[in-house]
């Protein structure tokens, strides 16, 4: 099976090299990095570790970058597409668990969840925000999950082709959930561990962003 790892990176020069190197070490050869208009050395460093580096001339947001990467993977005959974070908070060793149900054709999409393991190590305040997001996804889209906005997923080719990402920013994660519902995709949540390092915390989403994402979700919900 042709597995592609898609990484959207915006100003991740400090982590992108390490992330792609780890993936290569684990045997993942098809890694595409989409540099989303970074001002730093992200592209140059990524190119040292993979030949598949695409660059957005201007920053368009993670949703747009992932879509570019997914399109590239599909054009290169990907059977499975894995979306992976550039800041090193996802663990390479969690990938096989995500791939398994998709490979067996049990589901179309496997979503990483940091709450399926007992001790998730998620900071308390972050947990409240995320659980609020989970509740909203349920209310809005009728999809019951244990984790929200976890960028770690494995999509079958079918799912990757079906899911339309139209929102450029972080809201794409909610959009994917809404697409699961709309396109009647089979899904499962798989336990993963999110590494909350000082670096990933500084580079990740602030909890305040959750409010903005919520607002865009509402607008999006009623414009469809």
């Amino acid at each position: 099976m042709n597995t592609w790892i898609v990484i959207a990176a915006y100003n991740e020069e400090h982590s992108i090299g390490f992330v792609v190197k780890e993936l290569a070490k684990a045997g993942y050869r098809n890694v595409v990095v989409v540099d989303d208009g970074s001002d730093d050395e992200t592209s140059r460093i990524a190119k040292q570790h993979t030949k598949h580096v695409l660059r957005h001339v201007v920053n368009r947001g993670q949703g747009a970058a992932l879509k570019t990467g997914i399109d590239y993977a599909l054009a290169n005959d990907a059977d499975i597409v894995v979306t992976f974070d550039a800041d090193g908070q996802h663990r390479v060793e969690d990938i096989p668990a995500l791939l398994a149900p998709v490979k067996k054709d049990e589901v179309d999409i496997a979503l990483g969840s940091r709450f399926l393991k007992k001790d998730s190590g998620v900071p308390f305040f972050r947990k409240i925000v995320l659980k609020g997001g989970v509740f909203l996804l349920w209310i809005f889209y009728g999809v019951r999950l244990t984790d929200a906005h976890n960028g770690f997923r494995a999509l079958s080719r079918h799912a990757a082709e079906q899911i339309e990402i139209t929102l450029d920013g972080m809201e794409h994660a909610s959009e994917i959930v809404s697409e699961i519902r709309r396109k009647q995709l089979r899904y499962v949540e798989v336990p993963v561990v999110i590494r909350y390092t000082e670096y990933s915390k500084a580079h990740g989403q602030s909890s305040w962003n959750a409010v903005k994402i919520f607002y865009k979700m509402i607008v999006h919900r009623f414009s469809k």
Partner: protein, 107 residues
């Protein structure tokens, strides 16, 4: 006798009309837009200098003072324009994303 507010409005309108003319002459403003903005400022002058005219217009529609009618209508027009603009910006954003993605995939 002109009121201070009338003098201020006159100066303000005159400056803007002069700017519109200059922009139109240097072809930075299309004729349609030039006419529209000229009309807007001309209306401002009418409102400021011929208050009784506006009052006469506003009474039949159930608004006591002419100036109130102007404020109501202006707010509505502004809301409409802001809506139009935000739609347009949204569309532009999508087009930019499309372009950026195409360029990234072409290379």
């Amino acid at each position: 006798m002109m009121q201070p507010v009338q003098i201020a409005a006159l100066i303000f309108a005159a400056i803007h009309i002069a700017r519109i003319l200059a922009l139109y002459k240097s072809k930075k403003l299309p004729l349609k837009a030039a006419i529209f903005w000229f009309f807007v400022w001309a209306m401002v002058l009418v409102v400021i200098f011929f208050t009784p005219v506006i009052d006469a217009l506003s009474r039949p529609v159930g608004v006591g003072r002419g100036i109130d009618l102007i404020v109501y209508v202006s707010v509505m027009v502004l809301f409409y324009l802001v809506f139009q603009l935000s739609m347009k910006i949204d569309k532009l954003e999508h087009e930019i994303t499309k372009l950026v993605r195409e360029i990234a995939l072409k290379k």
